[in-house]
């Protein structure tokens, strides 16, 4: 134990705490699940948008970009597109064969005439001087295709490409933005936007807090500027602060409450001190093991673990109640009597947590692992460490005797109630009908937003900034492949399908990522098509009064062997910011195509076979529905497993059922209460109900194991009531959390434990008169 304490003390500073929401996304083999998780972790999600408002917003944005670029913790900082960006991009694009970006469809006679006619118009325009520079080498205008692709981008793309998309035009329906010489601004020029990517993950709250402090320091140099930000980092910081606040509040109040209850009931500082040992030991071991297994501990695991302290105390309380109320029995003997119930109770609770672990969410798996380890460790500590430290001489306070007396009187009274067959059937029918009605009317919600707080300054700021940048895509066509080139080939196919879908009015527009770089085969085919079309290009030129000989660089390029551009080349180019957003670097090559104005996702899926159409919000809801169903099935199986274990132990179906009753009925009553209160049930309610069943079964086991005399039953009831109160203290406080997820967990467990203890009295009434001498 000392070793654990030392290791824990040394490990605390090294504990890696995370609040990454993607830990609560399913990590199963579902393709859309993986894509949804990838989108949540993509570069777009990593970028922080800084919105500077004020009379000199533009100058401040430039100053901020300059300042951020000197900081080692910043990977990139930019606003709009600078002249240098455009020059570098044009230089890069013109370094590849002029056929690279010209689609093969451009080599029909009609298309050739159209392209050359366009060139003639450009040359005739007052700004034809630019076209004139590139025309001899690129008469068909291939170099402008990637620019057109970027121009077609909007919404998310504005963020994704750090302003590249706003360089050319603002499509209808999007926010009015302008790019003022490298600074992306609102049309009224009161807001300037800076896009920042830190080297640290946005979920690394320590690094993000430090970065935020530096931003605030910078802001002090410009009192007339107002700064608002958007991005995952501020959610992570707010989330961490909220969890810390919840944890410290729960820990403080529940510890004080538990101390008061212990003092009141057991009246011994020694008992209080020893009583806390198993739970602290269990928490320390669980924390260290979780860090070792998962490499980090999630903030929600810590919050949940803090609440579990009350549960870890149940075993001690059960032991204490029997030890204190039977002063003539030695501590070790008492443990031998109640120990099997404690071990058995722990076993059934562990089975409940295994159900949670099977939910398929990494975050919940971690919570389950933490809980199982904490329960095993605290149960072991209770069994082996507590008895030797019990005082040899001990006089229990009168409070406990009074409570015990009252409970005994209550038991005597309720066990006098005659449970006739008809009455039992009537009660069972009422409960069954209530449970079925509750389930029938239950509303389930699998919207993940139900689990995350949607209020607060950070949420309002995020929404305000994003609304100024225009609509964001909420649907994506995602293409994956085994290699970069296979990806580009698949992207070619997907782009063709999307174009047909756009023509058919299934979508309004899409970001033509495929036009940024074609596959190697396509580039070779384009080069061959251009060579084959050379005589016709000459004819079309002559027809439109061009002088073909003036285009010698173009003819020379056609004579050269093709030099295909690769995704790697693009990733090292000035277009890298765009590539990073739509073609992120991942273990498996992937392309993300933002889609706009999707009218019918199902129709789109039918048309676009080369890509997976993902609506992240719907996908996540769908996934959570699957997780919920999976958890319910796991719970059912868990319950069956618990029943089997109970049956193996008691060799009696009746006893096994009775032991299950407090948990199962508490679960049904909790659902009914939540349904009556109009609370939609989420995955966390389902998991909390699993906890309720586990703890209720603990109560049932404790009770069934100690029904030889009513005095013994009374002592167990005292331990159950004490355990209920300490659990309610923990989870009841959790129900006040501003995190909807934690609050749901807290409320459900609080209701469940309350009902569980009430139903213990019901089974006491039911079975007590038979068991009493």
């Amino acid at each position: 134990m000392l070793a654990v304490a030392v290791v824990f003390a040394l490990s605390v500073p090294r504990l890696k705490i995370t609040t990454n929401i993607t830990d609560f996304l399913p990590d199963n083999a579902n393709r859309r699940a993986q894509i949804a998780a990838l989108l949540a972790q993509s570069d777009v999600a990593r970028i922080m948008i800084v919105d500077l408002e004020g009379p000199d917003a533009r100058a401040r944005a430039l100053s901020l970009v300059d300042d951020l670029r000197t900081r080692p913790e910043v990977a990139s900082a930019r606003s709009g597109v600078t002249e240098a960006d455009v020059t570098a991009t044009m230089e890069f694009l013109s370094a590849w064969p002029p056929t690279t970006f010209v689609p093969r469809a451009a080599y029909t006679d009609e298309a050739l005439r159209a392209r050359l006619g366009e060139l003639r118009d450009q040359l005739g325009s007052p700004v034809g001087v630019i076209a004139r520079q590139y025309a001899p080498r690129d008469p068909l205008g291939g170099m402008w295709e990637p620019f057109e692709a970027m121009r077609a981008a909007r919404g998310t793309a504005v963020i994704a490409s750090r302003g590249f998309a706003a360089a050319r035009s603002t499509p209808a329906g999007s926010a009015e933005l302008s790019d003022d010489d490298g600074v992306l601004m609102s049309a009224d020029r009161t807001h300037a936007f800076v896009f920042v990517e830190t080297r640290a993950s946005p979920f690394d709250t320590g690094a993000q807090r430090r970065f935020r402090a530096r931003l605030d320091d910078w802001l002090k140099t410009s009192p007339s500027t107002r700064m608002t930000t958007a991005g995952a980092a501020q959610f992570a910081i707010a989330s961490e602060a909220q969890i810390k606040h919840d944890v410290s509040r729960i820990a403080t109040i529940s510890t004080l409450g538990i101390l008061a209850i212990f003092l009141l009931l057991f009246g011994s500082l020694r008992l209080i001190g020893v009583g806390f040992v198993p739970m602290l030991f269990g928490s320390a071991v669980a924390m260290l093991a979780t860090q070792a297994i998962f490499g980090e501990v999630h903030g929600i695991t810590i919050a949940f673990g803090t609440s579990l302290l009350g549960v870890g105390l149940d075993y001690v309380e059960h032991y204490y109640a029997h030890f204190v109320l039977t002063p003539n029995v030695t501590p070790t003997t008492t443990m031998k009597e109640v120990g099997p119930s404690i071990v058995f109770g722990a076993l059934t609770t562990i089975i409940g947590f295994i159900g949670i672990g099977a939910s398929g969410l990494p975050g919940l798996r971690q919570m389950a692992a933490f809980s199982v380890i904490a329960i095993i460790a605290s149960m072991t500590a209770t069994y082996f460490i507590v008895p030797p430290w019990m005082p040899l001489r001990y006089r229990p306070p009168r409070t406990l005797e009074r409570v015990n007396g009252s409970v005994l009187a209550l038991l005597v009274r309720i066990t006098q109630v005659r449970w006739t067959r008809n009455r039992r059937i009537a009660v069972a029918a009422v409960l069954a009908i209530g449970a079925l009605a509750g389930l029938y009317h239950a509303r389930f919600s699998d919207n993940v937003n139900m689990l995350v707080e949607q209020t607060g300054a950070h949420v309002a700021a995020d929404r305000a900034v994003r609304s100024r940048l225009g609509p964001e895509a909420n649907t994506y066509a995602v293409v994956t492949a085994e290699s970069d080139d296979a990806l580009l080939a698949a992207l070619d196919a997907a782009t063709g399908e999307l174009e047909r879908a756009r023509t058919a009015n299934v979508i309004t527009s899409y970001v033509p990522v495929g036009r940024l770089v074609p596959s190697r085969d396509e580039q070779l085919a384009r080069h061959a098509a251009a060579r084959e079309a050379a005589p016709r290009i000459r004819s079309a030129m002559a027809e439109l009064d061009f002088v073909p000989e003036q285009f010698q660089p173009f003819w020379d390029a056609l004579a050269q062997p093709p030099k295909p551009i690769t995704l790697r080349d693009l990733r090292k180019s000035p277009l890298a910011p765009v590539v990073a957003a739509w073609l992120p670097t991942a273990a498996k090559p992937i392309a993300i195509i933002p889609l706009y104005g999707v009218r019918d996702a199902a129709a789109l899926r039918a048309r676009v076979k080369s890509a997976t159409i993902v609506v992240p919000q719907d996908t996540i809801v769908e996934l959570f529905r699957g997780v919920r169903v999976q958890t319910i099935v796991a719970s059912g199986l868990g319950l069956l497993a618990i029943f089997m274990i109970l049956f193996v132990r008691y060799r009696s179906a009746r006893k096994s059922v009775v032991a299950l009753i407090p948990g199962v009925l508490a679960c049904a009553a909790t659902v009914a209460t939540l349904v009556i209160a109009g609370v939609p049930l989420t995955i966390l309610h389902v998991m909390a109900l699993l906890l309720v069943v586990s703890m209720g079964v603990d109560f049932g086991i404790f009770f069934i194991d100690t029904v030889e005399t009513q005095e013994q039953s009374a002592r167990t009831m005292v331990s159950i009531l004490t355990a209920s109160i300490t659990t309610i203290l923990s989870f009841g406080l959790l129900s006040l959390s501003s995190s909807p997820g934690l609050a749901a967990l807290g409320l459900t467990v609080t209701l469940g434990v309350t009902f569980g203890s009430i139903f213990c009295l019901v089974i006491a009434s039911w079975t007590g008169h038979r068991a009493s001498p």
Binding site: T87, P126, R132, Q133, A167, D181, F546
Partner: protein, 222 residues
């Protein structure tokens, strides 16, 4: 015989005269080879350009090495001190081109294309020569160009703009604006490639004589 001889002489002289001197409404051929005027003379020219509005017809001819034949365009041009220049081409195609200090907007039928000028300082300097000149902003022009005046505001004059930066010189070698007294006559652009553009300005109307509604329509503001 003599009569015929005189006629022949007259014709010959006429031909010779026609070769030796341009018609009265064209700048003299030797204008650009004349010695530059003193810097102070520029003030008088720029003073007359502090215009609020202007409307004129234009007739343009571009000689581009890539094309076997010159490109010709005609239409109407508008200037608004607050907005910039709008050029409405009638031939060979209907097209609206608006140049503001920040963007060049080209509208052909239903299609509109915008070219932000802040992405190329050189293109910006080039595209804004004419509106900056009409505003009489000599200092603005001198940032990017060396300005030389030949002739004077008493008769024909030519303002030559030679780029100061090497990058701008890669686009245009020089821009010459011809005028007579207080009137603009034409613009001549010579590109680094040797291509030239001559834009003749006709039927010039200035300031209050250009109706509000017409100006707004030209810029696509109504």
């Amino acid at each position: 015989m003599m009569t015929r001889g005189l006629v022949a002489l007259a014709l010959a002289l006429g031909v010779a005269f026609a070769h030796a001197a341009p018609p009265a409404d064209e700048p003299p051929a030797n204008l650009l080879s004349a010695p530059p005027a003193k810097a102070a003379a520029l003030d008088a020219i720029f003073a007359q350009f502090k215009l609020e509005r202007l409307r004129c017809k234009f007739s343009e001819e571009k000689r581009i090495a890539l094309l076997a034949k010159p490109l010709r365009a005609t239409g109407t041009m508008y200037f608004s001190r607050d907005i910039g220049v709008a050029r409405l081409s009638e031939t060979p195609k209907k097209e609206q081109l608006v140049v503001t200090p920040t963007v060049v907007r080209i509208r052909k039928g239903t299609r509109t294309e915008e070219i932000p000028l802040d992405k190329s300082k050189d293109l910006k300097a080039f595209a804004l020569i004419f509106p900056t000149l009409l505003r009489g902003d000599r200092a603005g022009l001198q940032q990017a160009f060396t300005i030389t005046l030949r002739g004077s505001d008493k008769d024909w004059w030519a303002l030559t703009f030679v780029p100061k930066s090497a990058s701008l010189a890669k686009l245009v070698t020089k821009v010459v604006v011809f005028g007579k007294k207080t009137d603009l006559f034409s613009l001549q652009v010579t590109e680094q490639s040797g291509d030239t553009t001559n834009t003749r300005l006709l039927e010039i109307t200035k300031n209050a004589d250009v109706p509000d509604a017409e100006l707004k329509a030209a810029f696509g503001l109504q």
